[in-house]
Symmetry: C2
Subunit: 552 residues, 2 copies
């Protein structure tokens, strides 16, 4: 047993530029991770036979819909751990009511073991590219100017579907960076309305939050900064919400020059994205082409009372807004029904990672079931509620305990949209085609493992019920804690008796993963000047960029 | 603020003998705790009006059933925390399947906030007597000989219902002591089959568990005892399962003289109680009188593999048996249907306290949602799943977030059985009549508080969403941690901002409780020679009693 041998792989791998997009690369197989190939070899015949049945089923579904491929509506909620959506008992535990989400959950399949990355940017990148975020060079993106983002040579699901003839639209949180190549309308979306940054700026960096002491150090009126030399250390002049269409420039719409961002702006922004999603549904439903629409709301993140009367027993800032999101989603689902497109629309609702436990208390949401939350590799950080509704295709009221990773949606959406040929063949695609799971139900999943990263650091490896936390550098592999997730969902007892001996099998998995990386090295994070491609930059934003680049 | 004043009440109160049973004490009101009277005063008119409606409804239900009052089947599961029964998502978390329990849960009302005492004996006593166990002098009953138990002058729900004309039967765990007055057939049950002690003896003190090192120190073959002077410190000769009818003697049925207790005996005992419950249903359903049948299974407690092939993903000893209990309950519910008595039978299914986390790991069950488990006052110790099915009366698929304490079932069962007059009027009854909640649904509960004891020590006071942990003796009341249970279900953050200021209101609640105790002091624990009233004591049991009493 060579316990030490695997740890040399754990340092960030040298970044090598990835290849270009190879469109319509039929016949060439999708390149998957070593572990998937290892599992596939064990099921090759069965899966090949099943794939033929699935093709026939999909053709049959299209036939029923006059040849139109299914629309896809992808709703991604921010920072809500497993159990916090779609479960009546947990509603009672938290003192909130989410009847629309619960009803929706019962209309389709509950994916009981959906894994994400542990933070917003990586999960969204993993979905968009079908690849662990680390492969795109993507890490958590900070609140203020970074001059970084999703590289242009990554191929997003929007690009894949657009090439295959879909209309594509994005509404809400984006969080893939502040450089032009990273903007959604430059990454495959025909239409995009989104905040340039994320909710720390939008929901926390307000006068109201400073007054409530929920964001200290930012607002000059709550404390003096008499010794400051660097007036930009406390971010100012950040671009807020922008709107754009593919091929065009972005336009900031939420703030006028000289105007101060407030909680009221944030509330209005949330309502606006809701309205724009409804508007998009109205518009897209009428088109001949099928659509891919993603709605990524900003709520439940919220950190101060906004004057609306609370309606939950909980009263916490996030809990209140999670209930509000339920109202919003109720409207969305009703709209889909009213437009008569329910039967030919796949709706996926899920969260992007575990709860933002850093505000436990006032947020009203705290650890529930799994331990941990946003930013960490424990199940509480990466296990989320996920529901798929596709009436007449995905069994209503069903559930599946098969493992799914968020990037599997990339490959699965491509499959059901007949767009698989547009998936690039020059890079590793982590997304596994889970169409069989959706169409044939539980036990037809094709994944039994997931690697969990915190940014570019591999922190855990999950296989079936077992999860190994990688030991710190220098610590022998024999000391790696292994948990049985059914027996110990909170990952608290790693005694040897709790799981398979952690040695050979997990080491082999790490090796297969690292050797695949060696063969197909990670892409480089996109870099550029922040805020390019915005046509109406406010003077304070221009000033912010100028200062940001002044040291170089 | 007199923070210190309340703590003088916290020492165990001097025990004073309680009065005798005052049968048929109509007109005299039931004596409730001060806190209930305090709440009642705030709702007197509304409740009085509602009670009239409820009387009419109950009369109407009887009329529909040819004047027969409803049967009551009370199923009490051992050591399973909230969320571990009746919830599909949690099934997936734990890697088990409980379709029968989940189906049953959806056929009635889910009581989402059922509180118990934190251990088996106190919870069962609180149910049987309608009183906090501490009022009966009851504490946790140890595994071996104790010469203690439920006092004869306590009035159990079986006695109340029997006086009102019900047939009464008990099958399974009893755990109310090893003295004759405490036996179920001497506490109101016409028929009783039960183990004299509890599952530590039955499931842990076996050769198999000793070999597996799950119960060390007990079996001589797994370690020497060369320095022992006291051969009875390691219990031997304990009575196992007995059977009896009211007025008769108990007869041991599970073990022959000289025979050693084994895992196989335990398995058989579980199957036997299941069969006897089914037999009782067959028998009781045919009678003119309505019945009260309690089935208190021994499983899921189990600590070693019994040779049956495991069928769960979890594979843990308790997890496996929880799934087995699901099979058992499926049979029971089917039987109730087949007998044609479903519509006039109230079935309550719940657990007696939180999980036995002491065996987390091999048991397969660990903390889930709430923190803590059996033996402690945290929500994980005292919050359990509870479901009430009464077709046509209790709304199918409904849920209620109102607080309920296990003793409320005493008073509520008496009410629906028209047996309220037999509830004694000379002592405090903690059980609150929750018939309105069952018949009128959520928000019609009449409890917004509960006191949580660990044995005779008051450890927590709950009011609505707030929970105060009592500070240790000598610690100022201002330091008492208070939690908001919706925002912080795991009771981890007691910062002042998380809950109402802990001062006056909680202190008042403790005072009202203690002043009620002062007026109606606690009963004395029943005492006597162990094993009296057993007609076929084995020689080894006689020897055990002889040694037990030899020091006096």
């Amino acid at each position: 047993m060579k316990h030490h041998s695997l740890f040399k792989y754990l340092a960030p791998i040298g970044v090598i530029a990835a290849g270009i997009i190879s469109a319509h690369a039929e016949e060439k197989p999708i390149i998957h991770d070593g572990e998937f190939e290892f599992v596939k070899k064990q099921h090759a015949q069965k899966w090949a036979a099943q794939d033929k049945e699935i093709e026939a089923k999909l053709a049959n579904i299209r036939e029923k819909n006059d040849g139109k491929r299914p629309n896809i509506l992808y709703v991604l909620i921010d920072d809500v751990s497993f159990g916090q959506m779609g479960n009546r008992a947990m509603n009672y535990v938290m003192g909130i009511k989410t009847p629309s989400i619960n009803k929706f959950a019962n209309e389709g399949m509950s994916l009981m073991r959906m894994y994400t990355e542990p933070s917003c940017t990586p999960t969204r990148a993993a979905f968009l590219t079908g690849r662990y975020a680390v492969r795109s060079g993507i890490k958590e993106v900070k609140v203020a100017l970074v001059g970084e983002g999703l590289p242009e040579n990554e191929v997003t699901i929007a690009e894949v579907l657009k090439q295959a003839g879909y209309n594509t639209a994005h509404v809400g949180k984006w969080h893939q960076g502040d450089i032009e190549q990273a903007y959604p309308h430059n990454q495959g979306f025909d239409y995009a309305v989104f905040p340039l940054h994320q909710q720390v700026q939008l929901s926390l960096m307000t006068k109201e939050c400073a007054d409530a002491n929920n964001m200290f150090g930012f607002a000059p009126h709550t404390q003096t900064s008499e010794f400051d030399l660097d007036s930009k250390f406390r971010p100012t002049g950040l671009v807020t919400g922008v709107e754009a269409v593919a091929g065009g420039k972005a336009k900031e719409v939420d703030l006028q020059p000289g105007e101060e961002w407030t909680q009221d702006h944030y509330v209005k922004m949330n309502y606006r994205y809701q309205k724009q999603t409804l508007d998009q549904l109205d518009k897209l439903a009428k088109e001949d082409k099928p659509f891919f629409l993603q709605y990524w709301p900003l709520w439940p993140l919220n950190f101060v009372n906004d004057g609306e009367e609370n309606t939950t027993l909980n009263g916490g800032f996030h809990a209140e807004k999670l209930q509000k999101i339920d109202d919003f989603l109720g409207e969305i689902f009703t709209k889909v029904d009213e437009l008569g497109i329910s039967d030919n629309t796949i709706v996926v609702l899920m969260a992007d990672n575990g709860l933002m436990y850093h505000y436990a208390g006032t947020s009203g949401l705290s650890e529930l079931i799994y331990r941990g939350g946003k930013t960490n590799h424990l199940e509480g950080g990466v296990r989320v509620d996920a529901f798929v509704r596709w009436p007449g295709v995905v069994e209503a009221g069903s559930a599946a305990g098969d493992m799914v990773f968020v990037s599997d949606l990339f490959t699965t959406f491509a499959r059901v949209a007949q767009a698989t040929d547009y998936i690039p063949r020059d890079r590793v695609i982590d997304g596994i085609d889970q169409t069989a799971l959706l169409l044939e139900g539980e036990h037809n999943g094709r994944r039994d493992y997931v690697y969990i990263y915190e940014n570019d650091l591999l922190r855990s490896v999950v296989k079936n019920e077992f999860k190994m936390h990688l030991p710190a550098p220098g610590v022998p592999g024999a000391a790696a804690p292994v948990y049985n997730l059914y027996r110990d969902p909170r990952e608290e007892n790693s005694h040897i008796g709790m799981a398979l001996w952690s040695g050979a099998s997990f080491q082999d998995m790490v090796k297969r993963h690292m050797m695949t990386i060696k063969k197909y090295p990670h892409n480089k994070l996109g870099k550029g000047a922040p805020y390019e491609g915005i046509e109406n930059l406010r003077p304070e934003s221009i000033e912010a960029v100028k200062t940001f680049t002044s040291w170089q």
